[in-house]
């Protein structure tokens, strides 16, 4: 009996049939309807395990409906709708199908009640999403896509290996809370960690997201990593190590984001940093912290999509997303600018914007459970967020020095998508009760207390003040004006030189290691070719004599083995 029809199937079925439909606008319209239907299905799905069927001796559950899966399912549907609207004028069949396939797999994974169906959808997101990168059509995008695919598929392979081990051990494939105590659970944890871009496992993210198409990046930013967050929240809530992993995640991307020139890559780093907050929430694992993770994921998908959309609109109009080549665009793209600022304010957690009502849950949870150092790290990271996303993105794109570019305002469908997203960001910030009612646990929480607002404003205003002082003191703007030709170089000077030196040394060492590894790998491949290639001894096929020799040897070995065994 199926009471809850899996919404993923709608996505997958439509994605399969979509390429057959002529007319790009018709397809784009259908794409808008699918998430609406999915939203409706999820909203009305009865709580409990549903859509179960037998596969291969296992009971698979495609619809595990509870509050945790519902909130992720809903926001994924919303994100699919918004990004489809943003991409309304993209009529490429591959991208359209891949988007639906990708979103559908992500939603399917969220509702998967067992690890095997989770694995199926997990790989589905990997395979579908790579087409959004390849769709850019450049040589670089092709190689980036391959790297991305290898990492993602690798994550899936590790996942299924872990599932296999866990099943051998416990005899269960249920996707529930796990404890890190066996190789199986560690492998599953690692698979989730790769998708979640844990520190040192994160490179695929910054590598691939900026390489995708304008619309592709918006789609990519919503699903893969948040699916991993969901999986961690489902499988490993309250796992201590996650607190520290998350804390590191919030800090280290900041430095990279500060020195990065490509704004889409800046956003990719800041995405990584935001994930850190959610991971900390999962690590703490109290109801309030998990609520914070869910709420932050919800808010984050929206404002991050909004930021990617606005930078994407600029890229669409000007052909570049490099900070050094932009500036002064507010004159001709005022609406895009406003939406970008809304996104920036949300990610910086200004009161009355969505980031504020979600992030403070996690901060409070870390404070109330006595993780003071973590709390300090998070506060520092929040200031960092303001610096690289809250100020850097809008400032260098729309203000700063005038690049002389006078692009047209973004196309209507993009404006509409950004407007809707911006509206949701503000709505959540102003009226958080709506979001809170969706959260997995019933916890009374009021973000708008005097102390919250004041401390957050203090933090933000001091950060702004610092920015202002730097400008007044002539550290920021004069250099900026003077160095149009070599923006990268001066920009790096703003950072403590140490970081530059350290990263230079680190990258040299890294390059040396990579170079060494590449040489070794090339040696191995040419060695394999010498032995296994068409001319190699192992691949030779013609001599009958060698075959007969083999027969004799094998017979001798067989006899030897059976005789010796007797003695």
């Amino acid at each position: 009996m199926i009471d809850a029809f899996p919404p993923a199937f709608i996505f997958l079925i439509v994605a399969t049939l979509l390429p057959l439909i002529p007319g790009g606008s018709v397809r784009a319209t259908i794409m808008l309807l699918v998430p609406v239907a999915s939203f409706w299905l999820i909203w009305n799905a009865p709580t409990g395990m549903d859509a179960q069927f037998e596969f291969f001796g296992f009971t698979l559950t495609l619809m595990r409906v509870d509050k945790l899966s519902v909130i992720f399912g809903l926001i994924f549907s919303v994100a699919a709708f918004l990004s489809s609207l943003y991409a309304f004028k993209v009529h490429d069949r591959v991208q359209q199908s891949a988007t639906l396939f990708y979103a559908g797999s992500a939603i399917g994974a969220v509702f998967a009640g067992d690890l095997i169906s989770l694995f199926f959808f997990w790989e589905g997101t990997a395979i579908a999403s790579v087409f959004l990168i390849w769709a850019r059509g450049t040589e670089g995008a092709y190689h980036t896509g391959m790297r991305y695919l290898i990492v993602q598929i690798g994550s899936g392979v590790i996942l299924i290996a872990g599932v296999g081990l866990l099943y051998q051990q416990t005899g269960s494939i249920a996707f529930d809370k796990m404890v890190l105590e066996s190789l199986g659970t560690w492998l599953i944890f690692l698979a989730f960690g790769i998708k979640c871009a844990f520190p040192l496992l994160h490179n695929w993210l910054q590598d691939s997201y900026p390489a995708a198409t304008v619309t592709g990046t918006v789609v990519l930013s919503a699903f893969t990593t948040k699916l991993a967050i969901y999986a961690l929240a489902r499988g490993f809530p309250g796992t201590e190590i996650l607190i520290y992993i998350g804390a590191v995640m919030t800090i280290f991307p900041i430095f990279f984001a500060e020195i990065e020139n490509d704004l889409r890559r800046v956003l990719a780093y800041s995405l990584n940093n935001q994930l850190g907050f959610m991971v900390v929430g999962i690590g703490i694992g109290t109801p309030m912290a998990l609520n914070g993770t869910a709420a932050h994921a919800f808010a984050h998908i929206l404002y991050k999509a909004l930021l990617f959309m606005s930078v994407g609109a600029v890229l669409h109009r000007t052909g570049t997303s490099k900070a050094s080549e932009l500036g002064g665009l507010y004159k001709t793209m005022p609406l895009t600018m406003i939406f970008c600022v809304v996104g920036a304010a949300s990610i910086s957690a200004f009161p009355l914007f969505s980031g504020f009502v979600s992030k403070s849950l996690i901060l409070d949870a870390s404070a109330t459970t006595g993780h003071w150092i973590v709390w300090l790290v998070l506060v520092f990271a929040s200031a960092g967020v303001l610096s690289h996303s809250g100020i850097k993105i809008p400032f260098f794109t729309f203000f700063a020095h005038d690049s002389g570019k006078r692009p047209k305002e973004a196309p209507t469908h993009m404006l509409l998508a950004m407007g809707l997203t911006a509206f949701l960001c503000v709505a959540i910030g102003v009226y958080p009760a709506m979001l809170y009612s969706l959260l997995p646990f019933d916890v009374e929480y009021h973000p708008y207390t005097a102390s919250h607002v004041i401390s957050q404003l203090q933090l933000l205003f001091f950060a702004l003040l610092a920015f202002g002082v730097l400008m007044r003191a002539g550290v920021y703007p004069p250099e900026l004006r003077a160095i149009n030709l070599d923006f990268d170089w001066t920009y790096r000077r703003l950072l403590p030189k140490i970081i530059g030196t350290v990263s230079a040394v680190a990258s040299t060492i890294w390059a040396a290691i990579i170079g060494f590894a590449m040489r070794r790998i090339n040696n191995i491949i040419s060695g394999l070719y010498r032995t296994h290639g068409p001319e190699g001894p192992i691949a030779k096929v013609w001599p009958t004599g060698s075959m007969v020799l083999w027969i004799a040897m094998l017979l001798a070995a067989t006899l030897l083995v059976s005789f010796i065994d007797l003695m």
Partner: protein, 510 residues
């Protein structure tokens, strides 16, 4: 026999013999008639009849029962017995199903690859080969296995040689195969001779009863060695595979598709039968050091053959080497000596037959249209032959073992068998070797879709008569990745039958 009313029920009692006799009679008939189209119809009718018979027999024995058919009414062990249980009924189904799908394909395919005057002979040889394979699977008599093995082998040599129309190297390949195949068959019959010397019987069930008493006997152990090596040659166990790549590459496309899906599979079944039914499991366990032969070579095959496949420039040869690697997986399942292991072997037998036949047929369609299977020349065909290329991609995914394809099910069972034994390193080796499959499949996909065509020759999509059979198997390779009811329960029943969980000895003549 004739006193019984001529009804289906009466007829169905003779299914075991009809299974073999119908294609056997159809073969010479095809020569006498001498008209290609009628020969085809005859072959196709024989094949469909075989399919129906094998399916209905499988349904009869899947619960663990055994059909024992005494030829000429002579009771075993004196007369020849045909003995059908879940294990060989499943293999019979694979053989006849593949044959039924391949034949319509063959009709179109050979029109371009074999000269008109030889086409009737093609059907004759094909039917003989088919008969031989069915016979060696269905029979319960050890010497009968040899007879049918030779029938199928001799006709296979001719079938491979027929590829000389397209590429003269087919003759060398066939000759090479002839020599090696003969050595293999000779070894096999030497093994049987030794067994007969010691036991005085050739009936498998009877042998199984007498051998345990002789488990310390060196002659019997030597017999086992000869049988394993002889059959190992026919099934292309790794270092004895040298005949296979060229035979598969230069044979006509339809022949390759048929042989790749059936010939080695039948040989694997015979090996299984001898290892587990004739030499009863505990006997084999006594000389269980066979593990030291089959297991390591299976693992070497998984890697070495896959790596060789990566470096091949001819797509047919890539697939041929991949077959050797896949045979490695099947042998690996055997070497587990467990129920799950045999289940893995049996299910991979089926899944790989379907997948590989689909792939070889798709490549055959490319050869049909372009005259070559040289990989660099296939650049850009993805646009020009979309359906054929898509078939290659789907088949390739199943070969790798991507979830939701048949190949995944095989690997899953194989890996769970390894984990059951606590061999997690083996599970890792299986996954690692699958990754090599990703490389060679990806090379083809890249050539088909991402490279620009070399010349501006316009290549048309293959005719429907090639595409439909190919896609039937492609869809099957996906379908059996999703619905595993038939395959998995049959494979489990087969494993039961082989391990004697459903006893073979019942009704034997001792």
């Amino acid at each position: 026999m004739f006193s019984a009313p001529f009804t289906f029920a009466a007829l169905s009692q003779h299914f075991p013999i009809l299974q073999v006799v119908i294609p056997l009679i159809a073969a010479p008939l095809a020569v006498f008639i001498g008209v290609t189209s009628i020969a085809f119809l005859l072959a196709f009718a024989a094949s469909i009849t075989s399919l129906i018979i094998s399916y209905s027999m499988l349904m009869q024995v899947i619960d663990g029962s055994v059909i024992s058919y005494h030829i000429g009414g002579w009771a075993p062990p004196w007369g020849i017995e045909y003995r059908v249980d879940a294990a060989n009924a499943f293999v019979l189904l694979i053989l006849s199903a593949i044959s039924t799908v391949v034949l319509p394909y063959a009709k179109t395919s050979i029109e371009r690859e074999i000269r008109a005057s030889a086409q009737t002979l093609f059907y004759t040889c094909y039917l003989l080969c088919f008969t031989g394979l069915l016979g060696m699977v269905i029979t319960g008599d050890a010497f009968n296995v040899f007879v049918f093995l030779e029938i199928s082998s001799l006709s296979t040599y001719v079938l491979v040689a027929l590829g000389a129309e397209r590429d003269k190297r087919a003759l060398t390949a066939a000759f090479n195969y002839l020599i090696m195949g003969t050595i293999g068959a000779t070894f096999f019959v030497i093994g049987l001779g030794l067994l007969y010397m010691m036991t005085g019987t050739l009936n498998m069930a009877d042998l199984a009863n007498r051998l345990p008493a002789l488990s310390d006997n060196r002659t019997v152990q030597t017999a086992l060695g000869f049988i394993v090596v002889g059959m190992g040659l026919k099934l292309a166990i790794y270092p004895l595979h040298l005949w296979l790549p060229n035979a598969y590459t230069y044979a006509p496309s339809a022949v390759t598709a048929f042989l790749a899906a059936t010939a080695t599979k039948a040989a694997i079944y015979v090996l299984l039968r001898f290892m587990f039914s004739v030499f009863a499991p505990d006997f084999t366990a006594a000389t269980g050091a066979l593990n030291l032969i089959i297991l390591p070579f299976a693992v070497i095959a998984m890697f070495a053959a896959s790596i060789i496949a990566v470096f091949q420039a001819d797509l047919k040869k890539t697939l041929a080497y991949s077959s050797i690697a896949q045979i490695g997986y099947m042998l690996l399942g055997i070497s587990y000596f467990s129920h799950t292991g045999i289940t893995a072997t049996m299910i991979h037998l089926f899944n790989h037959a379907v997948t590989k036949a689909a792939l070889f047929m798709a490549v055959g369609a490319i050869v049909y249209q372009t005259g070559t299977s040289f990989i660099p020349k296939l650049a850009g065909l993805g646009k020009q032959m979309p359906w054929t290329s898509a078939a290659i991609v789907a088949g390739g995914l199943s070969l790798i073992g991507i979830p939701a394809t048949a190949g995944f099910i095989s690997k899953w069972v194989l890996i769970s068998g390894a984990l059951e034994k606590g061999w997690w390193w083996m599970a890792m080796l299986i996954v690692a070797s699958s990754l090599i499959a990703v490389i060679y499949v990806w090379q083809v996909v890249e050539t088909l879709y991402l490279k620009e065509p070399v010349g501006d020759v316009v290549v048309k999509e293959a005719p429907l008569s090639l595409l439909i059979p190919t896609w039937i198997l492609v869809i099957a390779s996906i379908y059996f990745g999703l619905d595993t009811e038939l395959t998995l329960s049959s494979a489990r029943a087969a494993a039961d039958a082989l391990l004697g969980t459903a006893p073979l000895a019942a009704g034997a003549g001792s």
